[in-house]
Symmetry: D2
Subunit: 222 residues, 4 copies
Amino acid sequence: MPSPLILINLKTYNEGTGHRAHMIANAAQIVAHESGVTIAIAPNYIDLHPISHHFMIPVYAQHVDASEPGAHTGRITAEALRTAGATGSLVNHSECRLTLADIDAAVKALHAQKLIAVVCTNNEATSAAAAALAPEYVAIEPPELIGSGVSVSKANPEIIQRSVAAVHGIDPKVKVLTGAGIQSGECVKIAIELGTDGVLLASGVVKSKEPGAVLRDLVSQL
Amino acid sequence: MPSPLILINLKTYNEGTGHRAHMIANAAQIVAHESGVTIAIAPNYIDLHPISHHFMIPVYAQHVDASEPGAHTGRITAEALRTAGATGSLVNHSECRLTLADIDAAVKALHAQKLIAVVCTNNEATSAAAAALAPEYVAIEPPELIGSGVSVSKANPEIIQRSVAAVHGIDPKVKVLTGAGIQSGECVKIAIELGTDGVLLASGVVKSKEPGAVLRDLVSQL
Amino acid sequence: MPSPLILINLKTYNEGTGHRAHMIANAAQIVAHESGVTIAIAPNYIDLHPISHHFMIPVYAQHVDASEPGAHTGRITAEALRTAGATGSLVNHSECRLTLADIDAAVKALHAQKLIAVVCTNNEATSAAAAALAPEYVAIEPPELIGSGVSVSKANPEIIQRSVAAVHGIDPKVKVLTGAGIQSGECVKIAIELGTDGVLLASGVVKSKEPGAVLRDLVSQL
Amino acid sequence: MPSPLILINLKTYNEGTGHRAHMIANAAQIVAHESGVTIAIAPNYIDLHPISHHFMIPVYAQHVDASEPGAHTGRITAEALRTAGATGSLVNHSECRLTLADIDAAVKALHAQKLIAVVCTNNEATSAAAAALAPEYVAIEPPELIGSGVSVSKANPEIIQRSVAAVHGIDPKVKVLTGAGIQSGECVKIAIELGTDGVLLASGVVKSKEPGAVLRDLVSQL
């Protein structure tokens, strides 16, 4: 079984921007090295290039537009992500929803650049639909767990299990991340036991005064 | 084999609004009666209720919002469509794209009202994804055929065949409509032979001076 | 001084749809007749045409698209509103935001059909900007008052006064509605004293068991 | 009279990304130094920080989101632009339209970071509306001139003059850029004579094999 993925979304938190993004990346690199677990981060666009070059951990964009290079002011292309050194990108995060046509085009644009696509979804049906687009990962963010402080293991483990089954029913090669309700190493362990291949989390790490300690806890039961 | 569906989208064409929508509905009802083929129309919101009540043919909305009844100014709910007498609704038309989450919610909202969902898509991958949401119909509108005047049978029959296969690979109960490249009864016949369950068309009927004659031609080879 | 306008937005509330929309329209017509105050309602698209024809009060759409008649599936045009008998339309409601370019195009499309434009805004600066587009009305909905149950007179009368001044500084012919924080006839009176030409309200009337009684209270101090 | 501004939008052209963005910035810096004219560039997000630090010319973002730092995945904040060394940002470019409320919030977010706002508009009315939001610049992009290859001086100089008058009628401190129809130094000269304070252009410089030569021509008649 491959190592699970711990993917930290820095969003546009002040605590995850500029030198503080570098501090989190540094903590992630250290804990990844200690534990052997893959820890990746998704900084804002401005920090993407420097963090990709200063650290050995995988770096993801938070969003990519479906458009090709050209007359598309204010957009971020897969080409730009690749030249910045990114490993891949989130697509269709709950805070940055895309049309179905654009999700498909974004996945294809990432793949044309040999980048990894992590498509975010909100339930079993949309997870199955996303799997039909053949991304590397589907990240399930049940709305009732986003930012709730409620652990997925206590709240609603069935939604994760059913979504994993739905995704693998469409395409067993697509991996699944648990994208909400992760508070601790215990939650990560349960998420993996429920059949997922890792977790997507944000404020729990980013807003912590000791990101390294939080990351150590998250990987402690793997 | 059930009768195919001929679904006429009136869009917001002047030629498909008000009394001219009624004339097209009347022609559709006559040709449907003559031929035994199901002909449905999708008028604008204003004409939906009167046309549903004046004619016996199925009437679809052109769009439905994912929102529940409540504080949602300017939206159109599945509840409102049902009370207007609609049979179902287009969802995610190429001129009215929705997020994946909203397509899923719109299909569920239609089903909660016992209405039929026709989800529009643009290629093989998005057709498969839409099928995972379990609508009654997926309508494939290949962008290279929309408004092109090019017949699907001559241009690119493979995209239709592959999309039908992709949809049925996900869920064989989901029916498929050909949503672009239909010019004539010959095109309709070929679309059905390619495995689809009907066609979605617009300007060819709506902008014709003789909608009845066009409709008669469309069903002539079924 | 012309009579103030009381504009009731039915949104997509179940309590403001179908026959219940007709009941509210009927109550509005009776109270308008009794009081001499202009009371208008904005029903959903489906109810727009029947209500326009069954009642003598002004009827507004909740939204209008900027697009011309044509290949615009799922849109609602100013032409369709006019043929439905509408008096005008809300534009850019806080629940249905538009781009600046589309607000301008919607106002122009309404005016081309001799319809009245009520552009909604959220603060002093956007009220001034909206006034530059020359609609008949700007309706200010301060976000801190929307759905708050807090009366504009107690919360923040200055924002109304400053917005009226900002609008009239741009174009004194543009009238101003208070679009949030209206709970009672006392609030309406204060809103008028603050320089506005009427009020835009929703749930207070729509969700009431006795819309007629609420409307009578609203106009009681004019 | 202050020096006019020549602002080059690199969009997401391949020719304006990565090392080619640096080459254009270098050419801009040389020509600005030679001529005394202010030449600024707007690269994509990834190139914003390195170009701001390697060159002395003003650097603008192509877009900024209205949101504050926080849980806003995939967005670009004014705070991030400031820490990247930006001078300001385009807002509401024709390829990246925003709601009126978001334009206002973006201008305020830029000003809170001491950054310059360049709000793009499409006609006389929206230019006046934008001026009411008090940005430093309004950049008028008449749709009929965008990417047309037609010079503003030959096509429709009145739209520029009327828009300048409309902007200054609202707020004489707001400067105006001509945002389309600029092909040559002759066009720049005419744009200035029509009352604008500079030009916004893109492909003419970005897609040229010799950006320096094009820039020299653009400033040649100032």
